[in-house]
């Protein structure tokens, strides 16, 4: 079975700027995959090469086994892209926009699927509204619908929830998860790391045009083995014996390192022995954001 997305030694230079410096990546069919990285890391460049909007300086990229340059028609038919920018054609209504998009993909009579998309994305009552008159969130939904008119097996969403309210975010993710369950491959870029953590099985982190981490989400989190114990003490002083565990101190709250829950009891016993009273306590598990921050710092 061909990979949904395969990228080999991909490089892209814009003048002096090296946006991608040799990226290798393979995403299997049916995966829900996150591509993370700070602004300027090369995420959008990578997506644009897959979509045929940008031409690689070196290397190869394919979608469902189709080379994005040599077999661009097949590759583009296999791919639906929700662009990052909120773009629209002010001349047309929602339905016209979706009809045209179907036509560009060679689909003549697509009304049933267009109606289904409008329904799923909560756009049914906006079908005959001009694009200009839609709110930002509604325009975003139309972009998602446009990416799906040709029922592509692979769907790329480039920061789809930037500036989007909670309700739409939930509608959108519910819909995308359904598509994923039906077998669609999803590639997502986002700045909301908790979204990637909840939704995605695998994560790649990109920095300065290179992949600096690529693993299953749970493995990345496990790599960040430590838990974090937040303590508020009275008197607000940490016993000297616990100093080696201290990660940071912030507004009188001590953040201590815990390898696992088993270390909690000895820490509390030590506090008791030193006469420190616990006024507040919280144990947190590592999240993707911490992994992200650590990797981005480490990969300098």
């Amino acid at each position: 079975m061909a990979a949904a997305i395969r990228v080999r030694d991909l490089a892209k230079r814009f003048g002096l700027l090296e946006a991608l410096r040799g990226v290798d990546l393979e995403i299997g069919q049916g995966e829900f995959f996150a591509l993370l990285g700070p602004n300027g890391a090369g995420k959008t460049t990578l997506i644009s090469i897959l979509a045929g909007l940008v031409r690689a300086s070196a290397g190869e990229a394919s979608v469902m086994g189709y080379d994005v340059v040599r077999q661009y028609r097949e590759a583009r038919r296999a791919l639906g892209v929700v662009p990052q920018e909120l773009v629209f054609d002010p001349f047309f209504t929602v339905r016209e926009t979706l009809r045209f998009q179907s036509g560009y993909f060679g689909i003549r009579d697509n009304e049933a699927w267009i109606d289904a998309l409008l329904h799923h994305l909560g756009l049914a009552d906006k079908a005959d509204t001009n694009m200009r008159r839609l709110s930002g969130g509604m325009k975003r939904r139309v972009l998602v619908a446009q990416a799906l008119v040709h029922r592509p097996p692979v769907i790329i969403l480039d920061e789809p929830t930037a500036g989007v309210d909670v309700e739409l975010r939930q509608t959108l993710w519910g819909f995308i998860q359904d598509l994923n369950r039906e077998g669609h491959t999803i590639l997502l870029t986002t700045h909301y790391l908790e979204e990637a953590e909840q939704l995605c099985e695998r994560v790649a982190m990109l920095k300065d045009g290179r992949i600096v981490a690529l693993d299953r989400t749970e493995n990345l989190l496990r790599g960040e083995a430590e838990h974090r114990l937040e303590l508020r003490l009275s008197p607000p002083a940490l016993p000297e014996s616990l100093r080696p565990r201290l990660l940071q101190e912030e507004d009188g709250v001590f953040h201590l390192r815990l390898a696992d829950y088993g270390e909690l009891e000895p820490v509390l016993a030590e506090l008791r022995r030193c006469g420190a009273r616990v006024e507040g306590l919280c144990v947190s598990q590592p999240d993707l954001e911490e992994v992200f921050v650590r990797i981005m710092r480490g990969a300098a």
């Binding site: 045929g52 909007l53 661009y72 662009p83 773009v87 629209f88 001349f91 998009q101 036509g103």
Partner: protein, 251 residues
């Protein structure tokens, strides 16, 4: 084929939705030229025997409107799509660059020809227009609108802001069309400018087009066509090459 037809249809719909500006305004402009120039010159100028100045002016004005609007359609559509970013919608689609080219070209020709026809119809209220050779009229209308359709597409691909496009329009397209015998026969020009006019391809478009109406012209229509068609071939080839290479569209 569906991809091409859709893009073509979209381009037609785009200018149809703003017809007042894309069809009405240029017809009015041509009408104003007709009224002013014919009023001032009717009694003083007769270019061809038996052809009134107003009648002489009509084919030139029609062709000028065809050319300017064929240029305007592709160029303004492309720059709008580029600046608003919605060009991505068809760049993401599996359209071949030939489909892309033909859709924009045919839409530009339709816009040019619709405006030209409009000018002819309105002009018919002011002067009687003879039609000696309808096939020549058709041949020059099609070939010339295609030439300027190509120029419009190239300008639309190249320009990054409206200012640049306005520059092409005002400093190239308008002078080229004005100085090509719309309002006069080049035989009335001094020898030097007469010679210069022979290097302006638009002169041949208007001259050949005018031949279709009156059966007289400054140069032989076959000669004129032999200038216009190679221009079309070169420009169409250049446009296809730019689209194929993704110039300024696929970085």
């Amino acid at each position: 084929m569906t991809g091409f037809l859709t893009l073509f249809h979209k381009e037609i719909l785009r200018f149809r939705k703003v017809m007042l500006q894309t069809v009405g305004a240029p017809i009015l402009t041509a009408l104003l030229y007709l009224l002013i120039f014919s009023h001032v010159l009717e009694a003083h100028v007769q270019v061809y025997p038996g052809v009134s100045y107003t009648a002489f002016l009509m084919p030139g004005l029609i062709m000028m409107s065809v050319l300017q609007n064929a240029f305007a359609n592709g160029s303004s559509s492309l720059i709008q799509s580029k600046i608003s970013g919605n060009i991505v919608f068809f760049l993401l689609a599996p359209l071949s660059y030939l489909e892309f080219f033909l859709a924009y070209l045919f839409a530009a020709m339709v816009r040019g020809l619709v405006v030209g026809l409009g000018v002819a119809v309105v002009g018919a209220f002011f002067t009687e227009l003879r039609i000696e050779h309808p096939l020549w009229i058709l041949a020059f209308a099609l070939a010339s609108s295609a030439v300027f359709g190509c120029v419009g597409i190239i300008a639309g691909i190249w320009a990054e802001k409206f200012d640049q496009l306005a520059g092409v329009q005002n400093f190239a397209i308008v002078p080229l069309t004005f100085l090509s015998g719309v309002f006069y026969s080049i035989h009335s020009l001094p020898a030097f400018w007469q010679a210069v006019s022979h290097y302006n391809p638009v002169f041949y478009m208007i001259d050949g087009f005018r031949y279709g109406f009156f059966g007289v012209s400054d140069v032989d229509p076959w000669h004129a066509l032999a200038v216009v068609l190679p221009c079309l071939a070169v420009l169409a080839g250049a446009t296809l090459h730019l689209l194929g290479a993704g110039y300024k569209l696929r970085h």
